[in-house]
Every structure is written in C-alpha cells, then in structure tokens.
Symmetry: C2
Subunit: 363 residues, 2 copies
Amino acid sequence: MTSITVNLPETAYEIVISPGCLSQLGSQMKKLNVGKKVLVVSNPEIFAVYGDTCLQSLKAAGFEVYHHLIPAGETYKTLQSLEQVYDTALKHHLERSSTLVALGGGVIGDMTGFAAATWLRGVNFVQVPTTLLAMVDASVGGKTGVNHPQGKNLIGAFYQPKLVLIDPNVLKTLPEREFRAGMAEVIKYGVIWDADLFGKLEQAEQIDSFAHIAPELLETILIRSTQAKADVVSQDEKEAGLRAILNYGHTIGHAVESLTHYEQFVHGEAVAIGMVAAGKIATQMGLWTEEEADRQDRLIKKTGLPTTIPAKLDVDAILETLQSDKKVKSGKVRFILPTQIGKVEISDRVTTEIINEVILALR
Amino acid sequence: MTSITVNLPETAYEIVISPGCLSQLGSQMKKLNVGKKVLVVSNPEIFAVYGDTCLQSLKAAGFEVYHHLIPAGETYKTLQSLEQVYDTALKHHLERSSTLVALGGGVIGDMTGFAAATWLRGVNFVQVPTTLLAMVDASVGGKTGVNHPQGKNLIGAFYQPKLVLIDPNVLKTLPEREFRAGMAEVIKYGVIWDADLFGKLEQAEQIDSFAHIAPELLETILIRSTQAKADVVSQDEKEAGLRAILNYGHTIGHAVESLTHYEQFVHGEAVAIGMVAAGKIATQMGLWTEEEADRQDRLIKKTGLPTTIPAKLDVDAILETLQSDKKVKSGKVRFILPTQIGKVEISDRVTTEIINEVILALR
Ligand SMILES: NC(=O)c1ccc[n+]([C@@H]2O[C@H](COP(=O)([O-])OP(=O)(O)OC[C@H]3O[C@@H](n4cnc5c(N)ncnc54)[C@H](O)[C@@H]3O)[C@@H](O)[C@H]2O)c1
Ligand SMILES: NC(=O)c1ccc[n+]([C@@H]2O[C@H](COP(=O)([O-])OP(=O)(O)OC[C@H]3O[C@@H](n4cnc5c(N)ncnc54)[C@H](O)[C@@H]3O)[C@@H](O)[C@H]2O)c1
Ligand SMILES: [Zn+2]
Ligand SMILES: [Zn+2]
C-alpha cells in the first residue's frame, strides 16, 4: 500500500493507492475524524459493479450509509443534478460532520465535491475515483464544480477531500477509450513535471489499455502522477501561478472539446490534441526542440490517442473560443509551453498568427 | 473615517465605516488589486436610491461597470436567482480578477457572496451593506449562501470579501422595522461579547429608529459591533468552536422564524425572541442572574422588539424544528447561554423539559 500526502496550508490529506483497497474504504474512513452518516454518490453503471463493496465496507466499519445516483455522463454535471444531491442530503438529515463519498469518474467526483463544499457550507468529502483520469487528475487537488449551460466548470469551488482512495483494480471494467483518455493526463505529467515518468512510458511495450499494461507499471503511473499533481497543488492551491501548468494541452484542448459539443472527443482525447498543438507552438517559437516534440507525439500515438484537429472546425471559431476561456487574463490567452521534457513555461506571448498556423497544420 | 481590520489566516480585509463613504466606493476599490470589470448586484428598491452613486463612483475610478438586479425579499434568495447572476457574469465575460459588489441587505449580500465564491471557483467580492443587520452582522465574516426550499442557508460557502464599505447615512431610508431588527444583533454583541456596548445602549435615550438615535452613538454601535464580529471570526473562521457564540438567540429564533414561515417576523425580531428565551433558559439553569436577564429583556423592549412567542405555535413543533437545525451536533441541540453580560458559554446540556417550560412561559 502506497500513501502520498498532499500538504496544504490549512489541511493535509492522504492519497492511498493499493490494488483491492476499495474493500478497505470503511476502515480507512474510520481513521478520519468524521461523523456517522455517509452519503455515497455515484452513477448507476459504476454503482452496479462497485456499490456493494463500498457500502458493505462502510457498514462493517459502523457507518450509517445512504446512496444517491446520478445518471452517467457529462450532461448531468449540472446545477439541477446538484439540487437532487442536496435533496437527498436533507432527506437523511446530514450534519456538518457527515461525509459525502464520490464513487466514480471525474463527473461524479467534481459534482460530489461541490455538493460537499456547499451543503451546510461544507461537509466532509472523500474521493473514490474509478476512472484513470479521475485517479491521476480530477480526484486530487480540490477543484470541484458543475457546468453552466454555456461553459464547462464555470461554477465551482476549491474544496479539498479528506481522503482519496485509489484501487487500480476497478480500472478492469473501464472502457478502453476512457483508459486511454486518462493516459493523456499521465503523459501530461511526464511532459510538464516528471521526465522519469515520461521515460518509463516510452520504454513500455504497450500502454493503450488496462489489459496490456503491466500491473507494476500501472501502479508506478498512479503513484508518480498523483505525486506530480500533489506537488504542484501543494505549492499553489488556488491557482495563483504554478498550478496553471496543469492546464498544459487544455487551452486548445478545451476549444476542440467545446466546438465539437463534447460529443466527438472525451476530455483526455481533446487534451492529447491540445498537447500536440502546444508542443508545435513551442517549437515554432523556438522554445522546444522538434526532436522532443516528436517524442511526445509518438507517445500520444502509441497510447492510441488522436493527434489531429477535425478539419470541419473553423479556425476563427477556435480562436474566438480561446478568448472566452476562463484561463484568459486581461484579454490575453495563456499557453503552457514545454521547454524540455519535464519542464514548461507559462506564456501569454503566443500570437494569433502562430495559433492560426499550428491549427491549420494539425488538420 | 474608521477602519477595522479583519485578520484571517489566509487573508485580511478592511471594514471602512464613514458617513457618506458610499461615494468613495470606486476610490476604495482602486486600492485593492482587482481587475477592471465590476458587477454590482442589488435589488430594484435599493438600486433606485443608491445605484447611481455607486455606479458613478466606480466609473469615475476607471472601472467597467455592470449591474444585476434581483427582486427584493428572502423568497428570492434561491439557487434560481443565483443562476441568473451567473448568466449575467457570463454575458459580460467576467474574469477571475473581476469583482462582484453586493449593494443591499443580507439577502443580496449572502447571495452575491455565494455567487462570487462559486463563479469561476471564486472572483473578488466587496460588501456594501445597506441594512443595519447587514452592516453589523451579515457583511462581516464570510458566510455566504442561499436557501433550500426546505431550509434557510442550507447551501453556501465560507468566502471572505476583499472590502466592507459601511455608510451609515444609507440607513435613513431603511424602514424602521428593519432598523430595529438590526438592533437585535447589536444587543446580541452586547450580551455575548461587549459589556461596554451593552451599557451604552442602556444609557441611550432612544435606540428604536435611525431618526431617534444620536449619529455618534450609531457610529459607535457600528464600530463596536463589527469589531466584535471581526474578533470572533478572526479566532474561528470556519465555525469550529468559538464562532458558535454568534448564534446566541438564533436557536429558538430560527425555529420561530421557520414555523411562522418567515412571514410574521423579520430575522432580528425572531432573534430578539430567541435571546429572551436563551436568557430564561440560562437563568433557569442557574447560569445567569435574573437581574441581568431582566436588563437584557428591557433593552430589547426599549428597542421596540418582540419578546414573546406566538401562542399559536405548537411546542412540539418547535422542539422538532430545533432537532433538524443545522447547529445540531450528533443529535444534540446546542444553546448559547449568557453567564454575565458580555460573556456566554456553549451548552448541549439543555434538557427538553427546560426548553418546554421556557417556551410555555414566553407565550
Ligand atoms: N477536478 C479536477 O481537477 C478535474 C480534472 C480533470 C477533469 N475533471 C472533470 O472530470 C470529468 C471527466 O471525468 P472522467 O474522464 O473520469 O469521466 P466520467 O466521470 O464521465 O467517466 C467516464 C465514463 O466511465 C464510466 N466509468 C467510470 N468508472 C468506471 C469503471 N471503473 N468501470 C466502468 N465504467 C466506468 C462512467 O460511468 C462514465 O460513463 C469532466 O467533467 C472534467 O471536467 C476534473
Ligand atoms: N452571512 C451572514 O453572516 C448573515 C448573518 C445574518 C443574517 N444573514 C442573512 O441576511 C438576510 C437578512 O438580511 P437583512 O435583514 O439585511 O434583510 P434584506 O436584505 O431582505 O433587507 C430588508 C429589506 O430592506 C430593504 N432595504 C435594504 N436596505 C435599504 C435601505 N438602505 N433603504 C431602504 N430599504 C432598504 C430591502 O430591499 C429589503 O426589502 C437573511 O437572508 C439572513 O439569512 C446573513
Ligand atoms: Zn484535464
Ligand atoms: Zn442573525
């Protein structure tokens, strides 16, 4: 069992990583100083497979357990779904010492976290991520929220979990496409923070599915990725500076996601495209070598992730979407650009011409 | 001009108190390190009188100003109203560096604060309270939120303003009943924290309206009350312990408010009744002298505030409502009880019998 500590100014919490640890949810939560009532939030697909293990473990540890299910999918990551979580919390008389447990991917995690942040102005929160993306990214760092009809994650709060419990075994049932999407964020950590992790991914025979990847490598990936995220977040909880580097690949990635109405690509796929684009921008600006950019792109392809922008997307529409992105600061689009594998810089000096050129080159 | 500093672990902010300072909103905000865009949130009644001064001051200081109005009243303190603030924020492309200004009473303040806490996971927030209650209580301390159809303030966040600007002159237009309601919270500070303030209120000829109160006394009241709140909040931002004393009079107060469907009493009136009840519980338990409790009750009466519980309210219904209150901890109702003027203790040892008895005695 590996345990990583996320150290924050006001609080600290553990990320526990261990095959099979889902059945230890109850005993792990007993170590926290939380009340008796627990509301597990999940979706019907995930709950059908892992709900029982979760509830049993909690009951065995003496908790009073309730659950609330939200239909699967990003389209349900809304204020309306949130209201229904509130209704359930009210129905079971949750108190400030009670705990919301998110059992699911990033959609369930973000929404449950926001519900925990805002119900009674904050109840306890535990993350049990079930997708690779949620394990390495969404479950760590305290960003929670829901979508506005006109934009993703526009409504939310910074709110830290009390525990993140990662059981790699649950990835067995994850659709392969979702697994690859999560790998996009893993590759991201390699490029922005951890050259060693990047090297390990390069050396691996296959990394495009749970079935193909060696269990030890998967554990290493989970440990190094969550460690990378924990490192960055500890240094900059509220995204005042450094934390922005986690948005590597997300600037153009988000535009592509949004302009294809979140239908054509899952998040990680769009990030993969965004990383290829950001890499190309960096090389065009002379910040990064073409050789290293190529290594990144090859790794993305080996993972079975897309590397091109759909030709049907209008370049001007992409540029406009970049402008309305919430990462814009006083009107300037901010890019995270690699300078060498394991290192990036934040730049608002990327010209519209370069963006234009790179988008055209990637279609 | 008096300025009180609220010192919090992660942040500090000023409460500026000065007759006429509304017209200095722009120049005061320029001192903060905030972006160009400002969204003023208010209600049509308040905005009709003070909107212009506010907007002009902001524009003169170089801000790009928008406004959003929510109909007056507690019934609009909802997630639905919040959604409309989000829509306006989106329409004007507010950025993380932008600021939401609450121009109004506690309803506008709480809602605007919650919108600021959650839009883009947090934009800047400034409070310009226009009721006495909002000046001395709601605008200081960072509690923000909206109501759930089944309960007040169930949804919210702790989120601190960057500035609180208090102009006593705006109280001229406040309905007298609202003024008296605010005085209930002032009396509260006298009982729980500041015996000197209590004495000043006792000595004053009249304190039941803006027209009757001496301007110097009003300024003293504002300074000492906000200082009391700032002191308590600085020592316990997230209500882990001490902050609970601010709920003096609110336990039974909330029950009375809720059982009369927020129609018969405004908040401060219910708190006045709650203080009388809590005082009586304290004397019954031998914690407080009858003499001091009488002094409290006389001060409440002098202010023109109610001191009895409507006979139509069922005692069992009150007891049940207390149980579902969010201040309940592991099933026990918590009371704040005076031990002498200026001092209280927190108790969960109040028996149902005593509560019963006191409620009957106050009908
Ligand atoms: N908070 C953050 O810091 C952060 C970071 C990145 C992404 N996100 C958010 O995360 C969301 C995306 O999360 P996601 O990629 O996990 O998608 P997701 O939560 O939608 O899950 C993807 C699909 O996989 C299914 N699934 C999940 N776990 C499974 C399992 N073990 N077995 C079988 N099926 C399973 C789900 O039912 C769903 O259909 C987005 O809303 C994004 O905004 C948040
Ligand atoms: N956040 C906190 O710590 C905290 C503390 C106490 C109360 N509250 C909340 O505050 C709310 C009550 O606030 P309130 O008592 O200020 O009521 P309010 O905001 O509803 O205002 C009362 C009425 O006075 C009018 N008004 C306000 N200022 C005026 C002025 N200067 N001239 C003329 N009319 C004016 C308003 O339009 C409204 O009709 C409740 O929702 C309560 O939950 C919050
Ligand atoms: Zn991402
Ligand atoms: Zn109050």
